[in-house]
C-alpha cells in the first residue's frame, strides 16, 4: 500500500506519537524516584511515621507511572531499526553506543532495583531497602544522560568522520560525544524540567487533599517538598534553558530564528509575544514584540545581530546544495512559547505558594499552624487569605499540576521539529533516514496499533492514578513499622503473607 505522502511522513508521525507519549512518563519517573527516595530517607532518619506514609503514597503513584515509562521505552529501543533503518545504518557506529550503554548500565540498574524496592519491604533491612530506591533514582538519571548524549549528537554531531566508502558516519571520539556542551546543556535542562514536573504534580495533589482537609500531616509535608522542588527546579530550568538556547544559537541558528519567526536578520532582535506569519511570503503579518530580548537569549547581549530564517536558508543552500532548509515555522514558533509559558506559569505559582505557606518565623504567632492543621495562606502581613481565595489557590494548583509536563512535551516538539529537515543536523536529512524496505501499509499498521494501544493504556493509567490519589496515603501496618533485620526477611513466621504481592 502506498499513499500520496512523502515516505518519511508516516514514520515521523509514528516517532512523534510514540516518543511524546513515552516522554509523558519519563520526567515524572525521574523526579518522583528522587522525591520518593528523599521522603524515605527522612523516614529512615527520623522515624516519623508521616514520612513513611508519604513514601508509600508517592511511591505507589511513582510505580503506576514507571510501569508505563518502562514498557513504552521498549518501543524506543527498536523503532530506529524498524522505521529508520537507513538512519541506523548511517549512524549506528556512533548512535548505537550510548543506547547500549543506557541499557547495560542504566536500565539494568533501574529495573533490577525497582523489583527489589517493590517487593523488598519485608525482605530487606530498612537501610538496604532505602538504598534500592536511590539506585532506581540513579538509574533513571543515568538513563537520561546517555539518551540525551545520543540526541545531542543529532543536534550537533561531533567526534565523528564520514566514511565515504562504507557510506556512514564513524565514531572517532566517544568522550567528546558524551561531554560536548550540547549534551551537558540538554541534560541539565531536561533533568531540571523533570523535577519541575514532579514538584508541580506533588503540589497539585497535596492541594487537592488539603482543600478537603484530609491526610493533613502527610500532605503538608508533600506540599512543602513540592513547592520547594518547583521553585528550585523552575529557577534552574530557566537558567539551563537560557544556556541551552545560547548553545543552540551557535550550533543551530535556524532553530533559533524559527523559534522567533525572525525572517530577516537584525541587530537588537526582538522576542515576540505573538506573531502570525505567512510562510509563503516569508514575513509576519501581525506581531507584538519586545526589542532586544532575542539577541539576549541568543548571545547574552541586547544588541547582537541575529540572522534571520531567510539568511540562514540561503547560507545552508550554498553549503549543502539546493533545497529548503526551513523547519515548520509556526510549529517552532508556538512550541517554543508554549514550552516557556507552561513551564514558567508553574514556576510562578510555586513561588507564590512558597510565600503563602511560609514558615513560622516569618509569620505572626496567630497565623502559625501545627502539624495536623491545614496551613493558612498568608499573602500580606498578619492576614490570612479568605476561605474563598484559599480554595482558589488549591484549585489552581490542582488544575495546573500537568503544566510542566505540557511544557516538556512542547520543548521536545520544538527541539525535534526545529531541527528539520535534518535528522542529524548538517549530516543526514530525515527523508534519507527511513527504512526503504518497509511499506507505508506496515508503518500505518504499526502507527495505528501503537496509537490505539497507547490511548487505551492512557485511560487505564489515569483512572488508576486518580483512584490512588483519591485514596490518599495508606494506614501503616505492624509489619511496615517493623522492617526485617536480615536480608531475605526474618524467619519468625514463615507463613506470613508477603507485604506486597502482585
Amino acid at each position: 500500500m502506498e499513499l500520496a505522502l512523502a515516505p518519511e511522513t508516516l514514520a515521523r508521525w509514528q516517532f512523534g506519537i510514540t516518543t511524546v507519549y513515552h516522554f509523558l512518563f519519563v520526567p515524572l519517573t525521574i523526579s518522583l524516584a528522587a522525591l520518593t527516595a528523599g521522603l524515605q530517607t527522612a523516614w529512615v532518619r527520623t522515624n516519623n511515621e508521616k514520612y513513611l506514609r508519604a513514601t508509600k503514597f508517592w511511591g505507589k503513584l511513582f510505580l503506576i507511572n514507571i510501569a508505563m515509562g518502562v514498557v513504552t521505552g521498549i518501543v524506543q529501543e527498536f523503532q530506529f531499526g524498524m522505521n529508520w533503518s537507513d538512519y541506523s545504518r548511517f549512524v549506528g557506529d556512533i548512535f548505537g553506543a550510548p543506547l547500549a550503554f543506557e541499557a547495560l548500565i542504566a536500565f539494568f540498574f533501574e529495573s533490577t532495583f525497582i523489583g527489589l524496592w517493590i517487593f523488598g519491604w519485608d525482605k530487606l533491612p530498612k537501610k538496604i531497602h532505602l538504598a534500592c530506591i536511590w539506585m532506581v533514582s540513579i538509574g533513571t538519571i543515568l538513563s537520561a544522560y546517555f539518551i540525551l548524549a545520543a540526541n545531542s549528537w543529532m543536534q550537533h554531531p561531533v567526534g565523528y568522520r564520514i566514511n565515504k566508502e562504507r557510506g556512514r558516519a564513524e565514531l572517532t571520539d566517544f568522550w567528546h560525544v558524551l561531554t560536548q556542551n550540547t549534551a551537558l546543556a540538554q541534560f541539565f535542562h531536561t533533568i531540571t524540567a523533570a523535577f519541575l514536573v514532579g514538584g508541580a504534580f506533588m503540589v497539585g495533589i497535596a492541594a487537592f487533599h488539603l482543600a478537603r482537609k484530609k491526610h493533613i500531616p502527610v500532605m503538608r509535608t508533600s506540599l512543602r517538598l513540592g513547592l520547594i522542588t518547583v521553585v528550585i527546579a523552575g529557577l534552574l530550568t530557566a537558567i539551563s534553558g537560557d544556556q541551552l538556547g545560547k548553545v543552540m544559537f551557535k550550533q543551530q541558528p535556524m532553530k533559533m530564528a524559527a523559534a522567533e519567526a525572525l525572517w530577516e536578520g537584525q541587530d537588537s532582535a526582538p522576542f515576540s509575544i505573538f506573531a502570525v506569519g505567512d510562510v509563503a511570503k516569508g514575513h509576519n503579518t501581525v506581531e507584538i514584540s519586545i526589542p532586544g530580548i532575542l539577541s539576549f537569549l541568543a548571545d547574552d547581549s541586547f544588541t547582537s545581530y541575529v540572522p534571520g530564517i531567510n539568511d540562514i536558508n540561503k547560507a545552508e543552500q550554498e553549503k549543502f546544495g539546493p533545497g529548503d532548509y526551513r523547519p515548520n515555522i509556526p510549529v517552532a514558533f508556538w512550541s517554543f512559547r508554549w514550552m516557556i509559558g507552561f513551564g514558567m506559569a508553574s514556576f510562578a505559582l510555586g513561588i507564590l505558594g512558597l510565600w503563602l505557606t511560609r514558615k513560622k518565623f516569618m509569620l505572626p504567632p496567630g497565623l502559625r499552624t501545627g502539624e495536623d492543621e491545614v496551613p493558612h495562606l498568608v499573602l500580606f502581613k498578619n492576614k490570612a487569605l479568605s476561605p474563598k481565595l484559599t480554595k482558589c489557590y488549591w484549585i489552581v494548583a490542582l488544575w495546573t499540576l500537568l503544566f510542566p509536563l505540557i511544557a516538556n512535551s512542547w520543548g521536545w516538539i520544538f527541539t525535534e521539529m526545529g531541527r528539520q529537515p535534518w535528522v542529524v543536523y548538517g549530516v543526514l536529512q530525515t527523508r534519507d533516514a527511513v527504512s526503504p524496505g518497509v511499506s507505508q501499509g506496515e508503518v500505518l499498521t504499526s502507527m495505528i496499533g501503537f496509537t490505539l494501544l497507547y490511548a487505551v493504556l492512557a485511560v487505564v493509567e489515569v483512572k488508576l492514578l486518580v483512584k490512588y490519589i483519591k485514596a490518599g496515603p495508606p494506614e501503616l501496618t505492624e509489619a511496615d513499622l517493623n522492617p526485617p533485620t536480615r536480608i531475605g526477611g526474618d524467619h519468625d513466621d514463615a507463613d506470613r503473607p508477603m507485604a506486597f504481592s502482585y
Binding site: 518502562v70 549506528g92 547500549a100 547495560l104 523489583g115 494501544l453 488508576l464 531475605g488 506470613r496
Partner: protein, 333 residues
C-alpha cells in the same frame, strides 16, 4: 579473534541471558492457565517472577542496543525486515508489563480476569515468535544486495521457523515449570513437577527434530557439539525433575536454553543474517559491524557492566529465595 568476533559472541551471550531469564518468565505466564487451578495459584506463579521479570527483560534491550552499536547493519536489516513479527512482540511486551503491574491494583473480577488473559497470551506469543525469528535468521531470508529484506510476512512462516517457534514455546514453558517447581510450595509444587515432566518430553521430541534439521542444513563440528550438550542437558533436566531434584533440573534446563542459543549462533557464524538469494549478499560479522574503535569502547563497557549486572541480579534472586505458597498471598490490598 578480532573484535567483531568477540562481539558476535557477546551478542550471543546477551540473547542467552535473555532467553534463560525471560524464558522461564514467559513459561510462568503460559503456566498461569496450564498449571494454576484458581486465582490464588495464578498469583503464586506470577509472584515467583514478580520482583525479577523487569530486570530479566532488560537483557532484551541490551541485546537490541548492543546489536545496534556493534552491528548496525544487522540491527537495521533485522528489525526493518521482521517488521510485523517484531511489532507483535513489542505490543505483547507492553501489555505484559502493564498487566503484571496493574492486575492487582483494582479488585473487580473482570479487571483481574482480563489482565490474567493478557498475561497468558502476551507470554505465549513472544515465546513462539522469538523462535520463529531465530529460525528465519539461521535459515536465511531474502536479503538483496543493499542488505534490505525483500521477502514478506508470510515468507517468515515457513515450516522450519514454525518448528523453531514451537521449540522455544515448549522449551520456555518446560523451563518455567521447573522454575515453578523450584519456587513454589505446597500442592502446586507437586503438580509443577509432574507437568514439567510431560512438557519436557514433548520439548525433547520437538527440539531434537529442530536441532537435527539445523545441523543437517548448516551445521559443523562445533554446532554438533552444542547440539549434543543441549540434548544431554535436556534429558538430564527431565530426569532430575522426575526424581524431584528441582534445583539441579533448573540448572540443566538453563544449560539447554544456553546450548540451543549457542548452537544457533554457531551455525550462523561468520554470517549474522544470511541471504537466501545470494551468499554474497549475506550480512556477516565483517560487513555488518561497527568500527574497531566503537567495538573497543563497547567491549570495555560490556566487559565491566555485564559481570556487575550478573552480581546484583544474582543477589536479587538470593533476596527472594523463599518459596511462595498460597498462604503468602494476601487476600486484597
Amino acid at each position: 579473534m578480532e573484535l567483531h568476533d568477540v562481539w558476535f559472541v557477546l551478542i550471543a551471550v546477551l540473547w542467552t541471558g535473555y532467553f534463560f531469564l525471560e524464558g522461564f518468565d514467559f513459561g510462568i505466564g503460559v503456566l498461569t492457565k496450564l498449571l494454576a487451578r484458581d486465582r490464588k495459584e495464578r498469583r503464586v506463579l506470577i509472584n515467583t517472577i514478580g520482583p525479577v521479570w523487569d530486570g530479566n527483560e532488560v537483557w532484551l534491550l541490551s541485546a537490541g542496543g548492543a546489536t545496534f552499536a556493534a552491528f548496525p547493519e544487522w540491527y537495521a536489516t533485522l528489525f526493518s525486515g521482521f517488521y510485523l513479527p517484531l511489532l507483535i512482540i513489542l505490543v505483547c511486551l507492553i501489555v505484559r508489563g502493564v498487566a503484571f503491574e496493574y492486575r492487582a491494583k483494582r479488585s473487580g473480577e473482570k479487571w483481574q480476569t482480563n489482565w490474567e488473559h493478557a498475561i497468558f497470551w502476551t507470554s505465549l506469543i513472544p515465546a513462539v515468535l522469538w523462535g520463529v525469528a531465530f529460525g528465519n535468521i539461521v535459515r536465511g531470508v531474502k536479503i538483496d544486495a543493499d542488505m534490505e529484506y525483500v521477502g514478506n510476512f508470510w515468507d517468515l512462516l515457513n515450516p522450519y521457523a514454525i518448528l523453531g517457534g514451537l521449540v522455544t514455546l515448549f522449551l520456555f514453558t518446560f523451563h518455567g515449570a521447573v522454575f515453578a517447581g523450584l519456587k513454589t510450595a505446597g500442592d502446586i509444587r507437586e503438580r509443577a513437577g509432574r507437568l514439567a515432566l510431560k512438557l519436557g518430553i514433548v520439548t525433547a521430541v520437538l527440539a531434537l527434530g529442530f536441532l537435527i534439521w539445523t545441523q543437517l542444513d548448516n551445521g559443523d563440528g562445533w554446532s554438533l557439539l552444542a547440539m549434543i550438550v543441549a540434548a544431554v542437558a535436556l534429558v538430564a533436566a527431565v530426569a532430575l525433575i522426575a526424581v524431584g531434584r528441582e534445583g539441579w533440573s533448573f540448572a540443566f534446563s538453563g544449560v539447554t536454553v544456553a546450548a540451543v542459543v549457542a548452537m544457533l549462533f554457531l551455525t550462523l557464524f561468520p554470517n549474522v543474517m544470511p541471504s537466501s538469494l545470494d551468499d554474497a549478499w549475506s550480512l556477516t560479522v565483517t560487513n555488518a559491524s561497527s568500527t574497531p574503535y566503537t567495538l573497543k569502547i563497547m567491549t570495555w563497557c560490556a566487559g565491566i557492566a555485564t559481570p556487575v549486572v550478573l552480581m546484583y541480579q544474582g543477589w536479587t534472586y538470593w533476596v527472594f529465595r523463599k518459596r511462595i505458597g498460597t498462604q503468602h498471598i494476601a487476600e486484597a490490598h
